[in-house]
Symmetry: C2
Subunit: 503 residues, 2 copies
């Protein structure tokens, strides 16, 4: 078989697997948005069937044959050509998929599906003991998974690879320690400042239908294409790509909370701009996919925080917000509002954390989940270790386990190795933005005029259109001309918050 | 292999095929309700993939082996047992599926998908010539399909079998002729009556959100279970079952039209009560499916017309309608309203036809599509034949082809042999209702009190829970104690309209 024919068949198969995944994505979206409660059992059966089918396609020996035929082929001559990138990435995915025994995949899916329900009850009842046996099972299964996948020195790296290919926890730990050394004094200085913004204005009454309309207006202004997407309400905000012309975001609305829904929209718009900016001709292949979970998150955090909590953004949007919510905002100035949406305050909750303390929440989880997987921390000792870490690093004590080690659903869903991608996203987003601002010159003035197309175009050219051509760190270096590190984020936070807090 | 093991595997496979079909059903529902326009191309790819997968499962030679092993097995001893019914029906479906060459299935799908778009344009432009070559192709493909499937004497019967197993067009023609002989004089007498209701009240202003709420209230009152279903708005009303606990209906709302949305809801609720009343333990097998398209339609027409356009129904709902729409209905009496929703008037349009003339629209289509398939009528001569039939049977001339032979999308979708199920549904619905009313005694008083559970329970027991145990005509005979025929419908229409029109 000629290499081109083998490649064409490989791509056809990759696209078919992606098609199956996209059917599952729609079923999951529907489950979160419109499915009646009576549909839950059948939906689980549908999703299990599609997951099984996807696994079957991913591990089909024919894929291995095709990849073997393509070894040393002329298609690999230019390692950055779409064909070479696709072959490299499909090889990586195939090797991972076939290493996992089907029984382990199914057992993990089964345990996590129960564990997630148990976690919900445990959190509601503030009772860690209920969740403990399930977390123990999950940690055990994830250890087996890491052993099956293989790793160089640390089992955790085998799991991390799923979200951030090529990243090693040792390097991450070094990066995160450097970040922590900068963040702790900044948090301390902000807490010690005499200037503290009044956030009560964000908790006035914001009618839900107007929140929806205002969020949609902002999404469209940032570049979210509603002909190729939708915005709905769900219990937890998310973004899902159903197909190249169909990317859906959600948020949640509360009457007395401006921030949650609005910044939720901006966050998901960030994810969606990435999806809507991927090369449509490569859809269903690695060249048409996001580079990593961290890079994906970088776009969410960039649009939510770097853009959406900037002064020029609110110079443009505050007059519009005042028209949308005249009762709530008539007596508020843009400066007061800008300060309120940037209030920094250590709190026990990650999701509601500001952009300065947020990363400390992640670093704590990164340390704890590595210790759990390595066996250095017993699941039974997790609540105490959690509280101790919060006291030491954020200077606060979680009121209980529900707002402590039970607050996130990631571990109950089997996501170990995922948390670091949030901080990687913050770091990458800051570095990308700093470079875009340098190259584009007057981003602040563009934002103040409500123009965001220049930034979208820059990101599309330097990030979105590359798909998985580069590993994440190299993508950032290519885009910015500097090695990936923590300094751009630290610089940006220092500059913004020293001015805001007069420190 | 023991028969029980073969049967278990057969059922497992049937359920898997049903699971794939249910994924497609959700994707189709989403396409009609919430999908952004940019998603259309990818959605077509998803649906084509699932259709291919379903066909592959349906024609898997293993199914043939299992069915062969089950021949003469003790499981068939009682032909009405669930196992015997499932084996009989799966055998019928498998034999049909394997007779169709995959190339023909794919070519028909391809042609119909273009033809349907062409039909939309042709209707918009009132230009039959645009659609003619596509209808010629479709008629040709359906002839090939009939030849591949096989038939006793008339090719049309092979297509009819898809919707009404066991029914022959010769018998249908006899039944329909008898019905026509009764309907024509009834329509004439109504047209000649001096008493004609004022329908302008139905075209006052009905705010859309209150139409939605009122429709949902009626749906719930009739027994539609919103925990296991939803109601949405679409361009064309439909009902789709995603799973045993998830049945969704839609309708369309227009500000100056009470009837379209409301009776659309009742119609789809009829379909939905059938789906929600199927035996959940048999879901995914023939014992858990509707007996035929005609029986399904009988439930839609029964709840829309026999119940929903009855006087006792409006005795209960009219005061509620007046509260929902005080501006539109303050000066209207229940008698005026009841007469308005039962106005009989020959018109060129099937979808908006009243329950008396409706069947004449169907009988015309039944005659024409049989003539097209047999080659007795050339596609090019269809417009003239259509107009001639409307003049002769309904006494009216369609204003143009858009409101004439281009009005329905069935043929463009490859549905030939489907139209008769509408009239079969009307006939079956009337016969079932007459018997239920006899057995239950005081249905009128129950309806006037807003109680519909007695009728739902009767239908569940006599129709829904049987799944595909009986062929449609035998199901009706079992349920009513009389052979299936046209007289119950004629009797019901005569009684209702002689009183309404004083004839």
């Amino acid at each position: 078989m000629r290499a081109q024919a083998a490649y064409d068949e490989l791509i056809r198969r990759a696209r078919q697997e992606s098609l199956v995944a996209s059917c599952a994505a729609l079923l999951e979206w529907d489950e979160m948005t419109y499915m009646p409660s009576g549909g839950v059992e059948h939906r689980a059966a549908q999703l299990a069937f599609l997951a099984g089918l996807q696994h079957q396609l991913a591990t089909d020996p024919r894929v291995g044959e095709l990849l073997a035929e393509l070894e040393g082929s002329p298609l690999l001559a230019d390692p950055l050509s779409p064909a070479a990138v696709n072959i490299r990435e499909l090889r990586r995915l195939y090797d991972r998929a076939v290493r996992l025994p089907r029984s382990l995949v199914e057992e993990t899916a089964r345990v996590c599906s129960i564990a997630h329900q148990e976690w919900i009850s445990a959190r509601q009842q503030n009772n860690f003991a209920l969740f403990r046996p399930w977390l123990e099972k999950i940690v055990g299964l994830k250890r087996q998974e890491a052993e099956a996948l293989g790793y160089e020195s640390v089992a955790y790296d085998a799991l991390l690879e799923e979200y951030e290919p090529g990243v090693r926890s040792q390097d991450l730990a070094r990066l995160f320690d450097a970040l922590r050394r900068e963040l702790l004094p900044l948090v301390g200085a902000i807490a010690g400042s005499g200037r503290q913004p009044d956030v009560s204005v964000l908790h006035r009454e914001y009618p839900l239908d107007r929140q929806r309309a205002f969020g949609a207006e902002a999404a469209a202004a940032l570049g979210f294409d509603f002909r190729r997407g939708r915005l709905d309400a769900t219990a937890h905000p998310f973004c899902t790509a159903i197909g190249p012309g169909d990317c859906r975001i959600t948020t949640r609305y509360r009457l007395h909370d401006f921030s949650e829904a609005f910044f939720g929209v901006l966050h998901e718009v960030g994810h969606a701009l990435y999806e809507q900016g991927l090369a449509p001709e490569h859809h269903g292949t690695p060249m048409g996919e996001a580079a990593s979970v961290g890079v994906h998150e970088s776009q969410a955090r960039l649009w939510e925080n770097v853009v959406g909590r900037s002064r020029p953004f609110w110079e443009h949007f505050f007059p519009r917000a005042r028209r949308a919510f005249p009762e709530a905002l008539a007596d508020v100035t843009v400066e007061q509002f800008y300060a309120a949406v940037n209030r920094v305050e250590p709190s026990p909750n990650r999701v509601r954390a500001d952009e300065v303390t947020y990363n400390l929440h992640i670093l704590i989880r990164f340390d704890l989940e590595r210790a759990l997987l390595a066996g250095d921390l017993k699941v039974g000792d997790l609540p105490a270790a959690w509280d101790e870490a919060y006291r030491r690093q954020l200077g606060i004590a979680p009121p209980d386990d529900a707002e402590g080690c039970l607050q996130d659903g990631h571990w109950s869903s089997g996501l170990i190795g995922y948390f670091p991608t949030y901080t990687l996203g913050n770091l990458m987003g800051a570095q990308l933005f700093a470079r875009a601002a340098e190259e584009l010159g007057d981003l602040d003035r563009q934002f103040a005029r409500g123009e965001f197309g220049g930034l979208v175009e820059w990101l599309t050219r330097h990030v979105y259109r590359h798909g998985r051509r580069f590993p994440a760190a190299r993508l950032i270096e290519q885009a910015t001309g500097s090695p990936f590190d923590h300094r751009p984020l630290v610089r940006a936070l220092r500059q913004k918050y020293s001015e805001l807090y007069g420190i």
